[in-house]
């Protein structure tokens, strides 16, 4: 009889009942909302004559539509202002705490949950946003939901969901200098594919993961969904508890010690059984860059773009479509590709450690002529910390544009957008066609340090040449 995984322990602890459909009615410990996917849910709630059942377990912020030049109210874009007002109103009516621009705690929902200490091990966490998997870095079972499900959580604090199987992903060894969490997750998705994770929760472990800070683990878990896995997590350990100690919304004093005992008990047992197991050698991972139109289409920066003959039959149409859209040549090296825009930020890579690494590179040069740049802290707290460390001055001295916190150019629901066929070196999570705001705009995903390196050289370059 094998032991139990964290997924199984959390699932069982939060299971209200098995539903006739075979799904589980799962209690949701933490519900996060933002302005894009919640207004229709509040409307449906009102229409059904229902109220938020546990408003104290839901927290709101504004991130997708917020401009990064000025957050002053009213927002310059009337529709953005209307969405913000709608969320403020719904949150106030429901008794939900809202971290707005005036709160000092506003930021990307997946950045502020952890930094406030709301995100904790052993919890179930849901948010109307696919990158909710980020919170799995703390050993929570966290997943994205649609608007109908946001309504379900508001009304019942529960969801009807099917239990995923667990794939253990071991990343052994030690990452080389200049190789980051972003390179690890891009490598995982490259090998397992963008649909390989459907039906699975990804449990990340092994020496390279255990050596990571919580911020790095968040980067890995964040992009689980890009591999098709709705849930990705790392077992909680001393690093997790150290991160949480003293955070505003985390347990304090004696309660914190009791919490640590419970959190520790929720980690996967050493003899837990898994539906599947995959191993990676962390030492073999290179700085990785996408060349295509999904996050699985990537190569090491020292590799060439694959030829059609080098991929399996059923991947050829997607590769051909990607190369045509990106105007990149099969067999050519990706390094040296000229860029127009550099974006550092997002829920994947908009935390203080990301900005520090990018700044370290920025100290080595100036932004190349003609390259537009956006350096966007993930939250107001990250912004304050960066200011305390003097990072904005470093970026500005190198010619980077330092901005206000938000989702910014990750998804183009605010004024930060690509124009025309611009090619963007981006620390975000999606290189889909049109993702960054221009229907024909192009995206190369990479680590923040690699983006900074591309910005100062004006082209894709191996950051290890600079550091």
């Amino acid at each position: 009889m094998g032991g139990r995984s964290l997924l199984d322990k959390v699932w069982d602890a939060h299971s209200v009942r098995e539903l006739p459909s075979g799904q589980t009615q799962l209690f949701i410990g933490l519900h996060l909302i933002h302005e894009v996917t919640s207004p229709q849910a509040f409307a449906a709630l009102r229409e059904a004559g229902l109220r938020a059942r546990h408003p104290e377990r839901t927290f709101a912020t504004v991130d997708h539509i917020i401009p990064t030049d000025s957050q002053r109210r009213p927002l310059a874009d009337p529709m953005a202002e209307a969405m913000l007002v709608e969320l403020e109103r719904s949150a106030a009516q429901s008794g939900i705490r809202f971290f707005g621009p005036e709160s000092g705690h506003q930021g990307i929902v997946h950045v502020i949950g952890p930094e406030l200490g709301l995100t904790q091990p052993g919890m179930t966490i849901a948010c109307g946003d696919s990158h909710t998997s980020t919170h799995g870095a703390f050993g929570a079972v966290a997943f994205g939901i649609g608007t109908s499900q946001v309504r379900d959580v508001l009304a019942t604090q529960c969801l009807a969901v099917a239990r995923p199987r667990v794939r253990r992903i071991d990343v052994g060894g030690k990452l080389a200098a200049g190789v980051y969490a972003k390179d690890v997750i891009l490598t995982v998705i490259r090998r397992l594919g963008v649909k390989g994770g459907i039906g699975f929760a990804y449990e990340y472990g092994g020496a390279a993961i255990e050596a990571m800070t919580l911020e790095e683990r968040m980067t890995v878990c964040n992009m689980s969904i890009e591999g098709g896995a709705r849930v990705g997590y790392v077992n909680p350990d001393d690093a997790t508890f150290a991160y949480l100690r003293g955070r505003e919304m985390a347990p304090q004093g004696a309660a914190f010690e009791r919490a640590v005992a419970w959190w520790r008990s929720m980690a996967s047992d050493g003899d837990a059984s898994y539906a599947d197991r995959v191993r990676f050698d962390g030492a073999a991972i290179a700085p990785t860059v996408t060349f295509g139109i999904n996050p699985g289409q990537s190569v090491g920066v020292d590799e060439s773009i694959p030829r059609l003959s080098e991929v399996p039959d059923d991947e050829r149409p997607a590769l051909a479509e990607a190369l045509a859209f990106m105007e990149l040549r099969a067999g050519a090296p990706l390094a040296g590709t000229r860029i127009d825009v550099a974006f550092i930020g997002s829920c994947t890579n908009g935390r203080i450690s990301d900005l520090r690494e990018a700044a370290r590179v920025a100290r080595h040069g100036k932004v190349a002529p003609g390259v537009r740049t956006f350096v966007v802290p993930g939250s107001q707290a990250v912004q304050r910390q960066a200011e305390a460390e003097g990072l904005p001055a470093v970026f500005r001295a190198a010619g980077f544009d330092w901005r206000e916190p938000g989702c910014s150019m990750c998804l183009a629901m605010n004024p930060d957008r690509l124009q025309g066929r611009e090619l963007c070196a981006s620390s975000s999570n999606r290189n889909f066609k049109g993702r960054q705001g221009s229907p024909t705009g192009r995206t190369l995903l990479m680590s923040p340090a690699m983006v900074a390196a591309a910005a100062i050289r004006g082209k894709v370059v191996d950051v290890r040449e600079i550091l």
Partner: protein, 201 residues
């Protein structure tokens, strides 16, 4: 699309949309999420893809006019969790999806709206696509009770997770009502979780 109405079968014409890993940003570009309702999304479904295809997109192909079943490839609906994607497709007339596989969140969003997502193995899917491209005016019948898709390509056995299929057949896909039935069991579960009380001693 009355919430909670049982969905036994969807009959109508098909529209063949080839390609794998079509994400929800392509289905409905993010700029149309700048709104507080789902109204008006139908006209913007696949807007950027259609513009770039210059009239050659399947959704602009007159042969597929009036289609209610969208036939897609692998990992359809990947990426963003936006329910705006199935909302946009439903509002442009689609009542069901048949493909090789669907991204999980998209699948869940569709089910919650009473829109079945059925899968076929790749070879069977290819036969269906070819048949519909050859005879776009034919009627397809997706029968959830029988678990079949009938077309000129024959009667094909579709796959769908048992839970979703049951929810659609019973009309219990509007989960709020089902979840509320648990009543006090919700609070009993919460009471067993030490963090709900803030790890009070």
């Amino acid at each position: 699309m009355t919430a909670g109405e049982p969905v036994h079968r969807v009959a109508g014409r098909g529209c063949v949309l080839r390609g794998d890993d079509i994400d929800t940003d392509r289905i409905i570009p993010a700029r149309y999420l700048r709104a507080i309702s789902f109204e008006g999304l139908g006209e913007h479904a696949f807007e950027d893809d259609r513009k770039q295809a210059k009239g050659n997109h399947p959704l602009d192909d007159a042969r597929f006019d009036g289609a209610s079943i969208l036939i897609v490839g692998r990992n359809f609906g990947c990426g963003s969790s936006r329910e705006h994607a199935p909302q946009a497709l439903a509002r442009s007339g689609f009542r069901a999806f048949v493909g090789e596989s669907f991204a999980e969140i998209f699948f869940g969003n569709c089910t919650a709206l009473g829109l079945p997502c059925a899968t076929l193995p790749r070879a069977e899917l290819e036969r269906l696509m070819e048949s519909v491209e050859l005879n776009p005016r034919q009627e397809l019948v997706l029968d959830l009770a029988r678990g079949t898709l009938a077309s000129r390509a024959g009667v094909q056995a579709i796959e769908m997770p048992a839970g979703a299929r049951r929810q659609l057949l019973e009309g219990s896909y509007d989960a709020t009502a089902v979840l509320l039935e648990a009543g006090d069991a919700i609070e009993a579960t919460a009471a067993r979780l030490p963090y709900v009380s803030g790890f009070a001693g």
